[in-house]
């Protein structure tokens, strides 16, 4: 059955390659389109091979923007998106690890009630509470600001629950040993709990960064000034033009640029994530 093994392997690889091709083809088209001349694309004569306009298209995309009236360099949009995504990811992790610590390790009145209130917010995503949230942000004069973009999205039940579950698996003896070693609540949190949570934080960071990066509805509502636009909103605006041709190479370049940070985060964090899975530290 040795020959059979070989054939099976080729078949399996062939299927995998077909799958990869299906998934990768649109990405490839985007990259190719971003290096072509706009007139060519508009004529419907787009080549499947990369064109020669790579540098000029990307230069224009990042530093100048489209030639429309409300032009905005994509570099600035990326900065806005990056600030927002980082603030959401870091803010969520910080808030939820602290609240989970309080809920798991301290006895205070209405502890379980508070836990359930946090839990219930899971059922109220941004889209559901968008009007009251908008009202609050507007009343606080946070429209068109980084705070307005990120703060309302920071409070997180999911991350709190995840850290709570993790803390409950940390043996009680570690806390007791810390108490005997003279470590107070803050020291225990900082010296023991945080290092043990490192892999959880890495996993959460990946998820939350992408979640923040891909926000569309909230930034669309909260930002009106062009220089506060995020990249997801920017792409949409570039496509719908009223008085001119859509500049497809720039749209595609923007899409490619929009993909890069999440890819970078996943690749960078994956190493930490996998290492954490291999070396179980408990």
């Amino acid at each position: 059955m040795v020959e059979d093994e070989g054939i099976r392997r080729y078949v399996a690889h062939a299927i995998l390659w077909i799958g990869i091709a299906i998934v990768a083809f649109p990405v490839y088209i985007a990259i190719v389109a971003s290096t072509q001349d706009n007139a060519l694309i508009a004529n419907g004569q787009m080549s499947l091979l990369p064109g020669g306009h790579f540098f000029e298209v990307y230069y224009q995309t990042i530093f100048v923007g489209t030639s429309g009236s409300t032009r905005e360099p994509v570099g600035n949009m990326m900065l806005n998106s990056l600030v927002m995504a980082l603030a959401i990811a870091i803010g969520k992790i910080a808030i939820s690890i602290i609240s989970a610590y309080a809920i798991v390790y301290f006895r205070f009145p209405f502890r379980m009630a508070i836990f359930w209130i946090i839990f219930i917010t899971l059922m109220l995503p941004v889209e559901v509470r968008i009007y009251p949230t908008y009202k609050i942000v507007a009343d606080l004069h946070m429209l068109d600001s980084y705070a307005g973009l990120s703060l309302p999205l920071i409070a997180s039940a999911t991350a709190t629950l995840l850290f709570r579950q993790f803390f409950m698996t940390v043996p009680d003896e570690l806390l007791e040993a810390s108490r005997i070693d003279g470590a107070g609540p803050l020291r225990f949190f900082w010296d023991t709990l945080l290092p043990l949570s490192r892999t959880n934080m890495a996993a959460l960071f990946v998820i939350l960064f992408i979640l923040g990066w891909n926000q569309y509805l909230w930034p669309l509502l909260i930002t009106t000034r062009d220089d506060m636009q995020t990249i997801q909103v920017g792409i949409r605006k570039m496509i719908t033009t009223t008085d001119a041709l859509t500049e497809w190479p720039i749209v595609m370049a923007t899409a490619v640029l929009a993909m890069l940070p999440p890819v970078f985060v996943v690749v960078a964090m994956q190493k930490l994530f996998v290492r954490g899975l291999v070396e179980t530290e408990k």
Partner: protein
């Protein structure tokens, strides 16, 4: 260095469950005290109360002349070794030992010298940079010990520290712990459910049952004169044979002092196979039912004659009518043989009918 005194210590959980029902124990400076008892007897709870990890709901705990009921664990000047070691998984062996010292603001040079000294004593010098997960069970155990000794505390507390080790290592570590404690001469309280560990380690043995102290004393004294049937059956392996006995028999043993029926206890090792009945002693005819040879000695499980009226008094220890006899060597009667075993008067233990009092001649 300090003595530890427990005065009428009680622990009642919210909900009314009474885990510790008034315990009085006095551990002198430098002594090794072992708390022993079956699981659920409250021995670990008591130790955790001394450590300050459980609140005290009644009585006083006194360490070195200072009542510590309201004092934080870190300020009690104690060090504890946990059953699962509770090493900080993300810290190296060195940092595990140094952590408690640094938290107390000790100078780094002093920390270094103490940790290195402890590592030398415990043969951990080559492993100081490793993480706990890279160590074997015995090595982790030694790191946990090291974390306790670098602190140079007044009292060591051990919560079943050897129960996660295999049998051979357990014996080796038992000897190590005793040697180390003798050399440092630090007052120690050690919790175990293993009566052999308890007998070999203790200066003072505290036998606990159901949240109460059954007997306190020197291990050999407890072995020789158990105060209750519980202690009699818990200390010593295999357990003491216990059988109810008639008032007239007790009377004859105690020169007429008793008026009611009681319990007679004889240790397996105190029987000899003989046809004679020693003066003042007891003889039992047995049918041999099982033999266990362990090399140096042999255990004979026998059942007593049908017409005998005596039955075992402590439920769960021996089936009614079963007697264990321990003889040296490997020569034993065949299974099914009828033998006669006897014990002399000084080897008999007599208890009141409820098993709570030892009757002395």
């Amino acid at each position: 260095m300090a003595n530890v005194t427990l005065r009428n210590v009680r622990k009642t959980y919210t909900g009314g469950f009474e885990a510790i029902k008034g315990v009085n124990v006095d551990v002198a400076d430098g002594q090794f005290c072992v708390l022993v008892g079956p699981s659920g007897c409250g021995k670990s709870t008591l130790l955790r109360m001394v450590a300050g990890l459980e609140t005290v709901t009644g009585g006083e705990i006194d360490i070195g002349g200072r009542v510590v009921n309201q004092i934080e664990p870190a300020d009690r000047d104690i060090a504890m070794v946990f059953q699962n070691y509770a090493l900080y998984p993300h810290m190296s062996v060195y940092n595990n030992m140094a952590y408690g010292l640094r938290n107390r603001g000790m100078a780094e040079t002093e920390v270094k010298s103490r940790v290195e000294e402890a590592a030398r004593v415990l043969e951990l010098t080559s492993m100081l940079e490793r993480k706990p997960r890279q160590l074997s069970g015995g090595q982790r155990q030694r790191v946990a010990m090291g974390r306790a000794i670098v602190r140079q505390p007044k009292v060591f507390l051990f919560d079943e520290p050897l129960s996660n080790l295999d049998a051979k290592l357990r014996i080796a570590m038992r000897v190590e712990i005793r040697k180390l404690q003798r050399r440092l001469n630090t007052t120690s309280i050690y919790v175990t459910h293993d009566q052999l560990e308890a007998m070999t380690l203790a200066d003072v043995l505290v036998v606990m049952n159901g949240g109460q102290v059954e007997q306190v004393g020197n291990p050999l004294a407890i072995y020789e004169k158990p105060a209750t049937t519980f202690v009699a059956s818990f200390i010593g392996a295999p357990p003491m044979n216990l059988m109810s006995t008639r008032a007239d028999e007790i009377k004859s043993q105690l020169n007429g002092a008793a008026t009611e029926a009681g319990i007679l206890g004889i240790r397996p090792e105190d029987f000899v196979i003989t046809d004679q009945t020693p003066a003042g002693g007891v003889a039992l005819p047995l049918t041999v039912e099982a033999i266990e040879r362990v090399g140096a000695e042999t255990f004979i499980y026998g059942s007593r004659e049908q017409e005998e009226q005596r039955v075992a008094a402590t439920p769960g220890e021996l089936p009614p009518g079963e007697v264990i006899v321990r003889i040296p060597g490997t020569e034993a009667p065949a299974i099914g043989a009828r033998i006669r075993v006897a014990a002399i008067r000084p080897k008999l233990h007599l208890f009141s009918g409820d098993g709570r009092t030892r009757l002395e001649a």
